[in-house]
Amino acid sequence: MTEVVKVQDITKTYGKKGQKQYQALKGISFDVQRGEFVGIMGASGSGKTTLLNILSTLDQPTSGKVLINNRDITTLNKNQMADFRGQEIGFIFQDFNLLDNLTNRENIALPLSLQNVKASQIKPKVEKIAERLGIDQILDKYPAEISGGQKQRVASARALVHEPAILYGDEPTGALDSKSATELLETMKDLNENDKVSILMVTHDPYSASYAQRILFIKDGKIGNELKKENKSREEFYQEIIAELGRR
């Protein structure tokens, strides 16, 4: 197996030198293997968001290296970073972040347009992923006209349409009801197992986390414990996570 994400001892310090400084990340290292589904759990303020921002080139680490698909993303310039995000990374956010003035079809097509994919190739790609996610009937509606669960599926389709190296989820079920949340998580699991999509999901919800194969616990800017699902059932793994959370 090869690593799709390789994080080497990254730190992040806020505040200028000489002034009051705050260290959000204090040396974090881990890998995500290709085709793996990794969860990152931690309380508010533990550094989850900072970590995800750095992994997605939205922010820069103070020190350390991040390799995605064997490319060091900490050495890229702004335009290279933008292109890199467009090509190698897919995002799903808690609040969907769909563009309300575009139809769902246009929303999904956007990452491809940004990469100058030909219009004739865009249509089949959009329809293929939409069918995969069961949203092919609502493609020509606007985001305001569909349910929250559907919105998150459209967002997932948009995150995956350009076949990124890795899919990042930032509390993807945070704004969904429990039924929609389960459906989305099942879909993510399915994509991971059958389509070999590598997923890194940040969450504080043990139920969501139980769908991952491996969970990293982050606390006060450092990686603490690590749990692996291995051959356990999802319910057993869930109990294990609860126990781990209770231990702190």
Binding site: L58, Q87, N97, E106, L114, A119
Partner: protein, 622 residues
């Protein structure tokens, strides 16, 4: 405590407030400038009495329009202020601040910001009026009596008008905030956009809009048949037509572009088109107003500049640029300051014969006429009923013809060259001329190299030369007056003083309108910036380069600026037809006003884009 919060709120959004504040300041400055010129009677009386009534009419109309557009402007600037503040106010209310207290807060905030801006704006307006009027007067070579920027009635009008406007705006803001829910205030940005679909009605509307515009343009071009009706018809049809066109036609074009997948799926095109689709629905009213004002402003400048052509006509009315009667040392000295292209002399003798009906007789030898080929400007009405001139050469045959009109005209024109315009003219052979017992006199006829730029010196020369004649026994003081007014420099001065007034007004009216309409559009665009922030942030996260986002913004705003401009330009091109009744060729040198206007409009566009990008795009801190 709330006051402190409010102040820190302003401080944290200082940049946005600066935009708003400078916009309001500018509005009041423009309004003052306009009022100071429109109500300043010394200025208006300075430009000839005939023009006075027309001037007042034009300015009355101008003030009404400017007041309306200022009102619209304040409404948009105000909604910009509200869009910045409502989240903060929602927050205070959530924290338990009483509605009445919040109401008082927003009321005072609006009023204070508005009044400060007005006072500062008026002060700037005084300076600007002085500066702009000087600039215009010098640049256009206008002849206007001295003009002072500070004028109390204008000051009072401006203060009262703006105070009233801001009072209303403050009431409105208070009303709006107090009435709305805390939740709505906090999530104003996230409200889903309402969608409208009715292709059939849109289609009818598009056809109707284009049809109405066509009727309006037709009415403008056919002012000869419709007379003053063409204004009414044109105004009505173009106003409604513009609205329909913006509401349907342009949305249809955007939809058509969205159907073209090769175009749509290219970079951020789909996003830009999506933005425009929703914007156009929201912008229909403002875009139609802006297009009309654009047409009025551009039209005012074009027509104003065109009055300059009236001076062209003044130059055509006389052939010789200056006529010298005597060359005293001082006249000779002045002559050296004028760049002379050619000079001819005309010999004559003046004989008094009391028995004749007209006792003064001018004798001119035939040779003078045949050899020197002297010329004059013949006045006539052309096919279109326009006053025109053509250059003709004096000839002996016509001059001797006592009965033809041509003979009369030539003799009159010849006499006009001498200091004795009322004298009879007799053309005689050289022999007869030599036998006449009278002093041989002559006039010197000058053509100069550049009349306009030489004007001051030529006028002085002409005056000096004529004044030399005072005291000569045969010359009556009345005919000296006539000689002076007949001269080219005198008619040029007369016409250009009228034309200058109109030109100045046209320019001023046009610039004031332009400033207001462009600022209004700017604030309408900027007031949507806050709700666009998350969209651009999202695109950035998805991997759109910042340069791409910038160009998307520039395109989107570009379309919003270009649409009313295009319609406005078409309006002007057809509207100018109407002025054919007053002006000889309203389309003459049309590129000059268009270029001036275009440059200023583009500056506004760039400013809007830069401000918008500043609000919408995050700074990348690496």
């Amino acid at each position: 405590m709330l006051w402190k919060l409010s102040l820190t709120g302003i401080k944290s959004r200082f940049k946005d407030y600066l935009v708003l504040f400078s916009g309001l300041t500018f509005a009041s400055a423009i309004f003052y400038m306009f009022m100071s010129i429109a109500t300043n009677s010394t200025f208006l009386k300075g430009s000839i009495a005939i023009a006075f009534k027309i001037t007042q009419l034009v300015f009355g109309f101008g003030i009404a329009l400017l007041a309306i557009i200022t009102f619209v402007y304040i409404v948009y600037a105000n909604s910009f202020l509200l869009s910045m503040r409502q989240k903060d106010y929602g927050m205070y209310m959530m924290l338990g601040a009483r509605t009445s207290k919040i109401g008082a807060l927003i009321f005072l905030e609006t009023l204070v910001v508005g009044l400060f801006a007005t006072i500062l704006g008026t002060a700037i307006g005084i300076g600007l009026t002085q500066l702009v009027s000087q600039l215009l007067i010098n640049q256009l070579g206008l002849q206007i009596h001295k003009f002072i920027g500070f004028y109390i009635p204008a000051l009072l009008w401006t203060l009262v008008f703006f105070a009233a406007l801001f009072f209303l705006a403050a009431l409105w803001n208070r009303h709006k905030l107090v009435k709305s829910n805390v939740i709505d205030l906090l999530h104003e940005n996230q409200k889903p956009v309402k969608l409208r679909h009715n292709p059939v009605w849109k289609f009818i509307e598009a056809i109707l809009g284009l049809g109405l515009l066509a009727v309006g343009y037709w009415a403008m071009a056919n002012y000869k048949v419709l007379l003053t009706n063409s204004i009414g018809i044109g105004f009505f049809t173009i106003v409604i037509g513009s609205y329909f066109v913006f509401d349907s036609f342009f949305t249809a074009i955007v939809n058509l572009l969205r159907k073209n997948k090769n175009f749509e799926y290219k970079k951020l095109h789909s996003f830009t088109l999506g933005q425009l689709k929703f914007r156009l629905g929201d912008y229909t009213r403002i875009l139609s107003i802006v297009s009309l004002l654009f047409a009025l402003a551009l039209g005012a400048i074009t027509v104003g500049l065109n009055f300059n052509n009236m001076t062209e006509q003044a130059l055509e009315s006389t052939y010789y640029d200056a006529v010298l009667y005597q060359e005293s040392p001082s006249v000779k000295k002045q002559l050296k300051k004028v760049s002379v292209k050619s000079e001819t002399t005309l010999d004559y003798k003046l004989v008094e014969n009391k028995k004749e009906k007209i006792p003064q007789i001018l004798y001119i030898p035939e040779n003078e006429i045949t050899d020197k080929k002297l010329k004059f400007q013949h006045f006539y009405m052309d096919k279109n009923g326009q006053q025109s001139y053509s250059t003709k050469t004096f000839n002996v045959k016509d001059l001797k013809d006592e009965n033809s009109d041509r003979g009369h005209e030539m003799r009159y024109q010849l006499a006009s060259l001498t200091p004795y315009p009322d004298a009879q003219v007799k053309v005689v052979s050289q022999d007869q001329y030599n036998q006449l017992k009278a002093k041989n006199q002559y006039v010197k006829l000058l053509l100069v190299n550049n009349f306009r730029s030489n004007f001051a010196n030529i006028e002085k020369l002409q005056k000096m030369s004529v004044k030399q004649m005072v005291g000569q026994p045969e010359v009556e003081s009345k005919s000296i007056e006539v000689s002076l007014t007949n001269s080219k420099s005198a008619s040029y001065r007369f016409i250009s003083s009228i034309a200058s007034g109109f030109e100045f007004m046209g320019f001023f009216l046009g610039l004031a309108f332009l400033a207001m309409l462009a600022s209004t559009l700017m604030f309408k665009v900027l007031s949507g910036a806050n709700s666009d922030k998350p969209r651009y942030n999202m695109l950035w996260k998805m991997g759109a380069r910042k340069s791409l986002l910038k160009s998307s913004i520039a395109k989107e705003i570009g379309v919003l600026f270009a649409l009313p401009a295009v319609l406005g330009v078409i309006d002007v091109l057809f509207g100018l037809q109407f002025f054919k009744s007053i002006l000889k060729n309203p389309y003459d040198k049309i590129w000059i006003p268009f270029a001036i206007f275009g440059v200023l409009y583009v500056i506004y566009y760039i400013l809007t884009v830069v401000l918008y990008q500043g609000i919408v795009l995050k700074k990348e801190n690496n």
